[in-house]
């Protein structure tokens, strides 16, 4: 392949039930920075059935171009028709960078498409920038400029690696949701809209969806919360989360939890913070009765302010907390709720 033929930064604009996922806007935000460094533009690629109306929203969030692939086979996510469509887009439009969300859809679509177009894929990135590869010039090796440098945690969050894809195009990454910043929505901002027909063909790899079962809806997505009141095993029981609910109510906060709480059946999985849950970075994160295993802290340590309450003074959560309180959550949390009620009533 001629690498120079590949131009522009593209993002897969994930939609579910014909509603764009937050990650689509986050990817546009990051793509803008990368495109500015490269002197190019940002294309959002949206796949589905009856989704032409989504192009406007992608434009308002900063996409310069929107490629719409509207096909009945794309109504609900299935690997093969989506992979055919995104592969056809890449082969036709040749973006130098293709970003996909590291969601349950993107982590299936990304590897399938990257293998199909025979390029590399870096998983679950938390930082992306344009730079040189190798980072420092080395004798006997060409240093390539304007490369996508993709940084990701590995080893259960214990190591950080920066990865490049110098000899194949597009450079592909899946990007962890909740990490990149969206741009502010500009009402009336228009993208150039391109309708593209990839001619999807049914084959042995098509699967049949027999049934779709949605989880009982949680009203607020913990990734959007400004303040999270998060509980761990130390809370002790599903009933005792009442203490956290009360605190959250006073602060206008949302309740989240650690994996142990989900495993115990006290809270649903969509409230779980951490490596196998969601990555959050609220303004304030209360870690209450959470010991702070690295799998948990990997999902919350970017929070602006972390306040930990734990009776075990050696709990690793205190290593990442800005303010750590060693004490009994059963005494402190209700008293804190009352104190905050009084404070806020005086305002």
């Amino acid at each position: 392949m001629s690498l120079e033929e590949y131009k522009g930064v593209a993002i897969f604009a994930q939609q579910v039930d014909n509603k764009l996922s937050s990650i689509a806007f986050e990817l546009i935000g990051k793509a803008h920075e990368l495109a500015a460094d490269l002197g190019t533009d940002v294309t959002a690629v949206v796949l589905g059935k009856g989704i032409a109306n989504l192009a406007d929203e992608l434009g308002e969030y900063g996409a310069d171009k929107v490629v719409v692939i509207d096909d009945p086979a794309l109504e609900t996510y299935r690997t093969e028709p989506y992979a055919q469509a995104l592969t056809a887009y890449i082969n036709e439009y040749k973006p130098e960078i293709m970003l996909v969300g590291a969601t349950a859809i993107g982590r299936d679509l990304g590897p399938t498409v990257s293998a199909r177009v025979q390029t590399g894929l870096t998983a679950d990135c938390t930082s992306l920038e344009i730079g040189d590869f190798p980072l420092q010039a080395r004798e006997g090796q060409e240093q390539k400029h304007n490369q996508l440098l993709m940084t990701r945690p590995a080893f259960g969050g214990n190591t950080i690696a920066t990865i490049a894809c110098p000899d194949n195009r597009p450079q592909m990454a899946t990007v962890r949701p909740g990490v990149m910043q969206k741009l502010d929505k500009v009402a009336g901002r228009k993208a150039e809209v391109i309708n593209f027909n990839p001619e999807i063909k049914e084959n042995n790899r098509f699967v049949e969806i027999l049934n779709i079962v949605k989880n009982v809806a949680t009203t607020v997505d913990i990734m959007d919360a400004k303040i999270l009141v998060s509980g761990g095993r130390g809370v002790g029981s599903a009933e005792n989360f009442k203490l956290l609910d009360d605190l959250a109510e006073v602060l206008g906060a949302t309740v989240s939890c650690s994996r142990a709480v989900v495993d115990s059946g006290w809270k649903p999985k969509d409230l779980q913070v951490g490596q196998t849950g969601k990555t959050v970075r609220p303004n304030v994160y209360f870690a209450i009765g959470i010991s702070g295993a690295i799998q948990h802290t990997a999902g919350m340590e970017e929070s602006d302010i972390i306040i930990a309450i734990n009776k075990d003074e050696t709990a690793p959560i205190f290593d990442v907390a800005d303010y750590g309180i060693v004490g009994d959550l059963n005494k402190i949390v209700p008293a804190l709720t009352e104190a905050l009620k009084a404070e806020l009533a005086n305002k």
């Binding site: 609900t76 690997t79 349950a104 859809i105 982590r107 299936d108 990304g110 590897p111 990257s114 293998a115 390029t119 590399g120 894929l121 870096t122 998983a123 590869f133 190798p134 980072l135 590995a154 080893f155 259960g156 969050g157 214990n158 190591t159 950080i160 690696a161 920066t162 990865i163 490049a164 894809c165 194949n168 790899r205 098509f206 699967v207 049949e208 969806i209 027999l210 049934n211 079962v213 989880n215 602060l251 304030v284 690295i294 799998q295 802290t297 302010i305 003074e313 205190f318 290593d319 990442v320 907390a321 303010y323 750590g324 309180i325 004490g327 008293a335 804190l336 104190a339 905050l340 404070e343």
Partner: protein, 260 residues
């Protein structure tokens, strides 16, 4: 029915992560275990074997010491084990790994291939779908329940806020979540037998349907620019006060930071 389960030996990053005094990872102290998602995949295969009499073959690519893990799989009830090992295959990214494993799988009979969703060292979740791509098979990722009906599999496929019940024709590839089941223990008889069994070992030259351009470090499109152990954010203040003072402390900090 022939089921092939791809498994990986990984450092136990969940259980025993220890740090050296300088804050770097103490790799030497970490145990090597069968990757949890893969072990759930193996258990799912063994349950299908219990129900239908399927033959279960485990395949791994790794260092010669992965023989330990293969014997654990045999002791759990797998029928055959294959170790793909060769220095020339080292340093592979997910493209090169999946190309290599796919070339090995082409030498085996399979109706169903099960891999773990992701390994706890790399956490990429890419190798399973990429093997399916190299073999031209349907793939169903993130399986939280698997059943076989005639020539089809019916899989509960997990998403963030829902699941899809999906039917695929075999042959196909499924990636398993650790939540799928509780893997069985090795049996004493199984352990005894496992050490009498032959583990098939394949080197690079045994994999004929594989281009040198797609293996090892050189055949990996992604290259590591740098890697380092994570420097954790420094601890802030830690106080041990009575409950009333604790509350005053938190309220004062929330005020100081203009949260309230």
């Amino acid at each position: 029915m022939n089921i092939v389960v791809c498994i990986k030996q990984v450092p136990d990053t969940k259980g025993g992560v220890k740090f050296n005094p300088d804050g770097t990872l103490d790799r030497a102290s970490m145990l090597a275990i069968m990757n949890p998602d893969d072990k759930a995949g193996l258990e799912a295969a063994l349950r299908l074997k219990d129900e239908t009499g399927a033959k279960v073959t485990v395949v791994t690519m790794g260092l010669p010491k992965a023989d330990d893990m293969l014997r654990e799989a045999l002791a759990m009830g797998a029928d055959e084990a294959v170790l793909i090992t060769d220095r020339r295959l080292g340093g592979a990214d997910t493209w090169a790994t999946s190309s290599t494993i796919a070339a090995g799988l082409k030498k085996l009979d399979y109706d169903l291939i099960i891999t773990g969703r992701q390994a706890i060292d790399g956490d990429t979740a890419q190798v399973g779908p990429q093997i399916a791509e190299h073999l031209g098979l349907p793939v169903i990722s993130y399986a939280e329940a698997i059943k076989v009906e005639g020539n089809s599999v019916i899989v509960q496929r997990q998403y963030e806020d829902r699941y899809h019940e999906i039917k695929a024709q075999m042959p196909c590839l499924i990636t398993a979540l650790a939540e799928l089941n509780e893997p069985r223990y090795m049996t004493p008889g199984g352990i005894f037998d496992a050490f009498d069994k032959e583990v098939t070992v394949w080197g690079r030259d045994d994999l004929t349907d594989l281009d040198d351009a797609n293996i090892g470090l050189a055949g990996s499109p992604t290259k590591i620019a740098k890697a380092s152990d994570k420097v954790r954010k420094g601890a802030g203040e830690k106080v041990a006060l009575d409950p009333k003072e604790s509350v005053e402390y938190i309220v004062s900090k929330l005020k100081e930071k203009h949260v309230i």
